[in-house]
Structure formats: C-alpha cells, structure tokens
C-alpha cells in the first residue's frame, strides 16, 4: 500500500467521523486544524482507522502521534 493510498483511506475515515465531506488531511494536519477533533473523538478516529486498515496502535503510539503524517507512518509499518 502506498503512502497516498493510506492517506486516501485515512481521509475517508476523517470525513465519516466528523461528517464533513470538505475535510482533506495532510502530513501536518493536527487536532488544532479540525474543530470537532477533541479527545473523545480521537478514540473514535483510532478505532475506525484500526478497523479500516486491520491493524492496532499501541497505547504509546496513540498518545504520542504528533500529526496525521505520523499516524500514516505507523500504519505503513503495519500493513
């Protein structure tokens, strides 16, 4: 799976979770860039992305990811 494909999949999950078709996430997107992205939605994102890519984040990763690019790095290691 290419980095672009992973981004496309991640983007799809973001659009569902925040019910916003306008969202386009990039390497440097953080919670500050998306209004509804609070800690309670974060867990839904994690769960939905795990399901989407058939992988699991460790707790350290889930708490330590700096931006969407870092999330995609981890996904690429696992799939």
């Amino acid at each position: 799976m290419t980095r672009e494909e992973v981004f496309a999949g991640v983007n799809e999950v973001f659009r569902d979770i925040f019910d916003d078709e306008e969202i386009t996430v990039g390497e440097t997107t953080t919670a500050d860039d998306i209004e509804d992205w609070d800690s309670l939605e974060h867990i839904n994102l994690i769960v939905a992305i795990e399901k989407k890519f058939g992988m699991k984040f460790t707790m350290g990763e889930a708490t330590g990811m700096k931006n969407v690019g870092a999330m995609v790095d981890i996904i690429l290691e696992r799939v």
Binding site: V13, D16, I17, F18, D19, S39, N44, V47, A48, A62
Partner: protein, 594 residues
C-alpha cells in the same frame, strides 16, 4: 433503520454516527420524547451518542442530561440545580467494576469481607432510595461485569477473597433490590460482557486512554442492550411472531417430502436443532408472545407438519394460522387485523431472504430479522430483544389464552345474525372503579402500550399513576372485563381532572383486545355517574391525533359530546353536559362496588 437492527456492524455505527443521526432525524417518523439523565462512573460520551441512535430507531426522541465524569454518586445524593430542573423520566447509573471502592484483601476475615460487601451495597442502595424519593422516576442500574484478571484463578469465583466472588455476591444483592422495588431495573452488563467476550471487553487501552469501562468497539452493543430496556419500558416491544413453517420450524418441505419426512425431533442433528428452536418459541409464548403462522402451503399439509411427534409446537399454540398461497405480506397484515394489532408490532420469521425482503418492503415498520441458518435462529432472535421483559405481569402470562378466547368469540359471533344478541350471549361482567393499588402497574403499562384507542396519547409512569390516584382533584377509573370465555383483565383507563363543576379528561384509553364490546359505553356511564356525584356539570374531552389513533377521532361525538373547537393540527375539544345524560351500556353487567 436497517443498519441499527441486530445483527449490526458496530464499528460502522461508531464511525458514521453523525450521518446516521441526521438521517434518522430527517426520516419524518413520529417519536415520543423522553428525558434521560446519565450518571456516569466512567466516560459516557459515546454511550450517550449510540444510545441516542438506537432510541431514535425505536421511536423515542431522547433528551439527555450527562453528569460530570465519575460524579454519579454526588449527583444522585446531592443533585445540582441543572439535574433538578431537568426532571428526568429515566435515570441511568452507569457504573462498572472500576467503581467498586474496595475489594477484599487476602488477609481480611470473613466478617471484614461481609462488612465491605454491605458497605458497597449500602452506597448504591442509598443512591437508589434518594433518587426514588426525589425524582420518583425510572432508575436503571448496571450490575457489575467480572474483573479483568483473577488473582486466585478459578478459586477467585469460590473463595470469599476473590474479586469474582465479591462481584457475584454484590450483583445478587442488586437483584434482590430489583425484585422488591418498582421502577428499578438492572442493566445486565455481566451477561453482555460475557457474550461480547470478557477479554476483548476489558480493554485496558479504552480504560486508561479514555476511561471507558469497556472496549470502545463494544459501545454499540452496550447502547443497544440499554436501549432495549428503555424501549420496553415505553411500550415499544413487539407483541408476536409471524412464523414460516418449511425450513423455519422444521427442516424440509412438508408438501413435497410428506409430514413423516420433515426434520424435527431427536432422530437427527438437523431435527434436534429445529426442535430446539420450537422449544425456544414455546418458552417465549409463556412470556405472552403471540405465535402465528404465515406459510405457503396447503392448510392440511401445514397441520400435518404440526402433528409431527418430534415437534414441540402444536396447532393450539398458535393464534392465527395462515397456510395458503397468498403473498406473505398480505397474510401478515391479515393476521395483524385479526389480532387487532398494528402490523409493525409483529416479527416476521422466515428462512427465505426473498420473503423477508418482500415483507419488509410492503409492510413498513415490521421486523424481518436476518436470522441466518437454523443453528443461528435462537441466538439472533434472542439478541434482537423484541420482547425484552421489564416485569412479568399476570397479564403477560395469560396473554395467549386471552387471544385464543378472542378467536373463539369471533367464531361465536359468526353464528349470530344480530350483533347485540352476540354481545349479550357473551355474558359480560365489568368491574369499573377508581384506581386501586393492585392495578397501578397494569394501568401504567396500558398508558404506555395503548396507541390506537388512545384519545390523548399521554404516557404515565407508575409513580405518576400513583400520584394521580392519591390526588383528590382527579377522578380516575379502571375497567376490568370478563365474559363466558375468560377474564380480559384491566382493559380501559380514564383520568379526569376536576376544576369546579367541570371535568377535563386527560386520558381515555382502551385495549384493542376488547374493541366493539361496548366497554367504552360502560366506562362512560360510570364516569357520568361518578362525575355527577362530585357535583360536576360539564365534562370536556380532548382528541389529539397521532399516526395511530384515527379510530377514536369521533369517539366523543359517539358518546354524545358536541365539538367545541378544532385547530389546524386536527386537535379537537368536546363538551358534554351531564344534565341530560342517558346511560349507554345495555350489554355489560357492571358489578357494584363492595
């Protein structure tokens, strides 16, 4: 909405919950509003959001109050102004094993452990009593799931020092309380977590990251389980099954294979699994679930199949049998009409996905679950929770008998040319009296279940019914009806509020099981007589239209009221002067009060 029917894709629901909510709110369905206060011992955010979806799906529009994180005890004992003003219909206490203050230590003596158990129980009991006193509303309390680890291994269950043992005994104390208190219900997360898989349930990631007491992926199952109790309490349970025969109640096609060759019974494993399914349905029948047949078969063949010695269900277990070549959706609506039920209160069970698709497309609101193959029937139907029990009334246990008696009445009616003569032949006797303690539960149940013969569709909790019964400003009546075929129990309820010499009818309902028996005339006579005795000169009735109560649109007109006003929504107000009242009932003997 299909995606919210069991078996559902929980993770999809979590991911698409915002969109699903929008779609539910835009579907134009009429819903009852309920205020639900969630007092949490752990994070409740997604539980509330999922619960909302399932309740909307069940026809309930919830408004929520959510306590601050882990403030369940403080909120229950010392509710803030916001919760007091919220005036909840339901208080849900979301606690789990994580909220147990202290577990036994290995060095504790039996007396110390007993004291700990009582202290823990006492804390909860104190909350429930305080809530009952202050709010008088429904309280739903989680029991406890098993802990995530067992220090003593298997002995954790049997030794008093074990956490499993402690949780088990605490749960039993909760059940005893539930068994002796009204308006109090246990949400069984112990079973739920076991069914989900305790190892996946007790997800330390979800707990330590977000303080969810269960795996986030389990939240849809959690909310569904909770929603089932709430919808049951508000009369949204289904009332019966409409069952296919071939490959649903037995293996094979009775018309082709011959009744001796269908598979049901102990002889083969296939026969056993169908027999087990029949036995499951028979158990549900005891609970008051109505069993009916909708099968494409010659009637004689269907009956021959039911005579199979390996079958658990016999002809007499069913109320309405439609074995013919009509479309199944037509049979289903005919069955509903014969039972005086709405088609949406029935569950269609058929192994054939095409038949399920046709029935769900043709009959809006009917449930046609994806039951899978025969070895899955029981699991799927049981989890669907169409008949979730929140109390087992004598009425539930007798329901099948009552519907059978109704079928006998219909047969009798056919032999009378004159309907009045038929009614007189039933030898009906009624008891019509003010609300009495023995009937409060049934009265509250009726106010929540009656949709068709219901003038105002006002719902009452049992506590509210008790309050109305105790308030001298109210004139209350319940009506019980029996006849030569049996006792129908409490079937009608009227609530009027007196202001000076006027009486305003807040509620008038009747069970559809006694339609066209003139019970409403007997109730009207009793109302007029008791109102007169209280010095009332005028009775005012109100009709508020809903999607379901068209049958009583002109009810007050038929009782001799005149229409006073009508607004654009179709709400009507009616007036009856008691001065010229003439009794209306001629066929029911009303027992004098003792």
């Amino acid at each position: 909405m299909k995606c919210l029917e069991y078996p559902f894709a929980g993770e999809e629901l979590l991911r698409r919950k915002k969109r699903i909510k929008k779609e539910l709110l835009a579907d134009g369905s009429v819903r009852i509003s309920k205020k639900i206060a969630i007092l949490g011992g752990s994070t409740t955010n997604d539980i509330r959001l999922m619960l909302e979806l399932f309740l909307l799906h069940y026809g309930i529009a919830p408004e929520f109050y959510e306590s601050e994180y882990n403030q369940y005890y403080e909120e229950a004992m010392f509710p803030g102004a916001e919760l007091l003003a919220f005036a909840p219909d339901v208080i849900y206490i979301h606690t789990s094993c994580h909220n147990i203050m202290a577990f036994p230590q290995l060095t504790d003596t039996p007396e110390q452990i007993e004291a700990m158990l009582q202290a823990e129980y006492g804390r909860y009991c104190g909350m429930w009593e305080a809530l009952a006193q202050r709010f008088g509303c429904i309280v739903i309390q989680n029991n406890f799931e098993y802990p995530a680890y067992r220090l003593l291994g298997s002995m954790d269950a049997s030794d008093r020092h074990g956490k499993v043992n402690f949780v088990t005994r605490l749960n039993c104390l909760f059940y005893d309380y539930a068994g002796t208190h009204e308006n109090f219900y246990i949400h069984d997360i112990n079973y739920l977590s076991a069914a989900y898989g305790l190892e996946r349930w007790a997800d330390s990631f979800s707990w330590h990251m977000y303080k969810y007491c269960c795996n986030v992926s389990a939240i849809p199952d959690f909310a569904f389980s909770l929603a089932k109790i709430i919808k049951a309490l508000y009369g949204k349970n289904k009332k019966g099954y409409v069952l296919d025969l071939d490959n649903t109640l037995w293996g094979g096609i009775v018309g082709d294979d011959g009744p001796e060759n269908i598979e049901v019974g102990q002889e083969t494993s296939m026969g056993q699994v169908y027999q087990a399914f029949q036995a499951y349905l028979k158990e549900q029948k005891q609970l008051g679930v109505l069993l009916n047949i909708d099968s494409k078969n010659e009637y004689e063949n269907a009956m021959a199949g039911l005579e199979h010695p390996g079958g658990v269900l016999k002809k007499d277990d069913f109320i309405v049998v439609k074995a013919n070549w009509e479309p199944k959706d037509k049979n289903l609506t005919d069955i509903a009409a014969e039972l005086n039920l709405l088609p949406e209160s029935l569950v269609f069970v058929d192994d054939n996905p095409a038949e399920r698709a046709i029935v769900s497309a043709q009959v809006p609101g009917v449930a046609a679950p994806e039951i899978g193959t025969v070895e899955n029937y029981i699991r799927v139907l049981d989890r669907c929770g169409y008949f979730e029990a929140t109390g087992i009334s004598a009425d539930d246990l007798k329901r099948n008998a009552m519907y059978r008696e109704n079928a006998q009445r219909t047969a009798l009616q056919a032999s009378f040319a004159d309907y009045g003569a038929y009614l007189r032949s039933l030898l009906m006797k009624a008891e019509i009296r003010p609300f009495a303690p023995a009937w409060l539960a049934r009265i509250a149940q009726l106010t929540n279940k009656s949709n068709q013969f219901n003038l105002t569709t006002k719902r009452y909790s049992q506590a509210e019914i008790a309050a109305v019964a105790a308030d001298p400003a109210y004139l209350t009546l319940y009506g019980k009806l029996e006849d030569r075929f049996g006792d129908n129990g409490v079937v009608s309820v009227v609530i009027g509020r007196q202001e000076g010499d006027a009486l305003f009818l807040d509620l008038w309902i009747m069970s559809c099981r006694v339609l066209k028996r003139d019970m409403e005339c007997a109730m009207m006579d009793a109302l007029a007589q008791r109102a007169g005795a209280r010095g009332i000169r005028t009775i005012y009735g109100f009709y508020y239209p809903t999607a379901k109560n068209k049958m009583v649109r002109d009810f007050y007109g038929e009782r001799g009221f005149s229409k006073v006003s009508q607004d654009t929504a179709g709400n009507t107000k009616w007036e009856l002067s008691l001065a010229a009242y003439r009794p209306q009932n001629t066929v029911i003997q009303v027992e004098e009060e003792i």
